[in-house]
């Protein structure tokens, strides 16, 4: 029997689920290997009988918690999909402003209608088995993880920084081009996507294990940022981690 998989989302742009649809021809192969039983963005048919759950998005409301816990209870394997789910991502930018002020700025005198709390990654609420990082996630990495899970193997996710892949790609370091890059402390696996297109890494894949973030902050300072601005660089995607506080 084919394993049953399901997709769920919380606060996010649904771009990672779009990446699944963007698999294009491999999508047909995927459908041959698994049974997708729930995928609201693309399907009406729906079943709560699934073994692997892919969850996109951050947790931002009290009512998200029981929903996520129910998914955790049902799923044998729970995979966090994309930066909002794996590290909190851009949603956590709001955590640095007073919650009431944020609601008032967007919803004016009706602010009370809109429930929200500090945005967080899903492993702040339930245990997560595997992570597919990135904003958006890399569709090849998604396929790789799915293949590993189907074979009963632990998916291999790089523990070295983006700089390694960037060097391998033969890029000119973007610091040399005057940019401020988080590549030295960010987990690889994207093929140095942004620096290859001459943009700086913003850390969307999260930090490597034991990152030397103090050294990174020094590098950012040496390249013209104030301490505050250096921390600000980390806040775009890494607002939930200690380094951004």
């Amino acid at each position: 029997m084919k394993p049953k998989i399901a997709f769920f989302d919380f606060a996010c742009c649904e771009g990672c689920q779009l990446q699944v649809v963007n698999l294009e021809v491999e999508m047909v192969d995927l459908l041959g290997a698994v049974d997708i039983v729930q995928f609201r963005e693309a399907m009406t048919e729906k079943s709560d009988d699934y073994a692997i759950a892919f969850v996109e998005g951050s947790i931002t409301r009290e009512k998200d918690i029981p929903r996520l816990k129910k998914i955790r209870e049902q799923a044998t394997i729970l995979v966090a999909l994309g930066a909002c789910a794996t590290i909190g991502g851009v949603n956590c930018l709001k955590n640095f402003q007073p919650a009431d002020e944020v609601r008032k700025y967007v919803y004016g005198d009706k602010a009370d209608w809109y429930e929200t709390f500090a945005a967080r990654p899903i492993d702040a609420v339930v245990p997560v088995d595997y992570y597919i990082h990135g904003c958006p996630m890399h569709k090849e990495e998604f396929l790789k993880v799915v293949k590993s899970l189907l074979l009963g193997k632990k998916p291999e996710i790089p523990t070295y920084p983006v700089c390694v892949e960037c060097k391998r790609a033969g890029n000119v370091c973007v610091f040399e081009l005057g940019m401020k890059c988080l590549g030295p402390v960010t987990r690889a696996g994207c093929g140095a996507w942004c620096p290859t297109y001459r943009d700086n890494c913003v850390g969307c894949r999260g930090l490597i294990p034991d990152p030397n973030t103090n050294a990174e902050k020094e590098v950012l300072k040496k390249n013209g940022l104030t301490v505050e601005q250096a921390i600000g660089q980390f806040r775009i995607f890494l607002g939930y981690s200690e380094v951004a506080k």
Partner: protein, 428 residues
């Protein structure tokens, strides 16, 4: 006299979370409501304090499907605030990117999200078995559009290269030539798409409303122009607030808008009604074959207009690419002189006209932000359509009423994640 009780929690095959509620008691309509229940995300609040170079990358994350449109609209607003006029080369490359996104999004919507209703299946998945040629064609066309976006933007979902006053990296001529060839080879797929959509039976329903889109003297407007309305002529994009008039309703986390009437419509059908004359000759022919004539007042036809716009996107991309190949590409000076200011951007993205507005201080730090998203502008119109449609179909079986309502909502191609972050913010 009958009772009808329909509650669709989280309608499927749309982007984001929305509910439909219909309650009829002894033949009398008690409730008929479109609700938006997406988690609010507060982008306007949290881009404040960010540097002008980062704002487009952050607001791109409002929506995965229209991330190119958000990026370009955001860049326009920032450039307007900083007093930057981009080069013709930059404008040309951006216009190709927005065509690529329109094609990508329309293929996704027409084939994957809307079409299953017409063939009576719950999703594209069963079609893999029964109609593999159709599914493979849809995937091929989607890949073509994604690859077009990759060539010009570095990435389809959250593009990398578009930046303030230009591109971080220019596309390679070799890649441009390859994608041009694939675009011109796409004709058989476009013809087959036309033939498929000719066979679909679109519900007969009409409700005239106000249609708002961009309009330009130069072309079928997507990237820039004036705001145009079928009721009220044109106005510069800077006047967007007085044309959108956002307001809040208690059952929805998204904002609603209105202009001349109680509601208005944006998106492919609105563009078609305002700018039909500027479609490519082939797109006009396709429109005629699909029985489309401007003005069209049937919201279900929005998906059909998307097929017309997909053909136009291919034709227009080829025309613009030829201009690129003719002129060549050169690295340009992207340096920016910072100054305090505010500015508005407007782009007609797949689901309709989108506005971003920002204010910056003299150091290029964002101090105010406001985004008005297409789907928000459609919420009130969806509601009004439902109210008009329900009495016309009240005698049908409940399941059929439910399906009609779902199809109506899907026809708008709503992008609900997008729509939950706005509001009016008064800039000082």
């Amino acid at each position: 006299m009958r009772n009808i009780n329909i509650r669709v929690d989280h309608i499927t095959r749309v982007e984001g979370h929305g509910d439909i509620v219909v309650n009829v008691k002894e033949g009398k309509i008690e409730e008929c409501r479109w609700e938006v229940v997406e988690a609010p995300r507060f982008f306007e609040a949290f881009v404040r304090g960010r540097n002008y170079t980062e704002v487009a990358h952050i607001t791109s994350r409002i929506c995965g499907i229209c991330s190119i449109g958000h990026t370009l609209c955001s860049l326009q607003a920032t450039e307007s605030a900083l007093g930057i006029k981009v080069s013709e080369q930059t404008r040309l490359l951006r216009r190709i990117l927005i065509q690529g996104e329109n094609l990508q999004s329309h293929v996704l919507h027409t084939y994957f999200l809307a079409a299953p209703d017409f063939v009576g299946v719950p999703s594209v998945v069963p079609l893999v078995q029964t109609h593999p040629d159709v599914v493979l064609r849809a995937l091929r066309m989607k890949k073509l559009a994604n690859d077009l976006c990759d060539v010009f933007g570095g990435r389809t979902v959250h593009p990398i290269t578009p930046t303030v006053n230009g591109f971080t990296k220019l596309p390679e001529i070799k890649a441009i030539k390859e994608i041009r060839k694939r675009l011109s080879d796409a004709t058989p797929d476009l013809v087959a798409t036309l033939e498929l959509f000719k066979t679909l039976k679109i519900p007969k329903f009409e409700r005239e409303t106000e249609y708002i889109s961009l309009k330009s003297k130069e072309e079928y407007a997507l990237y820039d122009g004036m705001i145009a309305s079928t009721d009220a002529g044109t106005t510069p994009v800077e006047n967007y607030r007085s044309w959108t008039n956002e307001y809040l309703v208690p059952h929805s986390t998204a904002k609603y808008t209105k202009h001349v009437r109680d509601s208005y419509m944006v998106g492919a059908l609105a563009r078609f009604n305002n700018n039909y004359d500027q479609l490519s000759p082939r797109a006009k022919k396709v429109a005629a074959e699909l029985g489309l004539k401007a003005p069209c007042y049937n919201p279900f036809m929005n998906s059909v207009v998307q097929v017309v716009e997909a053909v136009h996107a291919v034709d227009e991309s080829i025309r613009l690419i030829d201009e690129v190949l003719d002129k060549g590409l050169k690295e340009e000076d992207r340096r920016v002189l910072l100054k305090a200011g505010k500015g508005v951007g407007a782009v007609d993205v797949p689901r309709g006209i989108l506005f971003h507005e920002y204010a910056y201080d003299k150091n290029g730090v964002c101090t105010e932000a406001n985004c008005i998203i297409p789907t928000n502008q459609n919420h009130a119109n969806i509601q009004k359509d439902m109210e008009a449609l329900l009495p016309q179909i009240l005698d049908r079986p409940q399941d059929e009423i439910r399906l009609s309502f779902e199809m109506l909502v899907r026809a708008y191609d709503p992008c609900i994640s997008c729509s939950t972050h706005l509001l009016k913010v008064e800039f000082v």
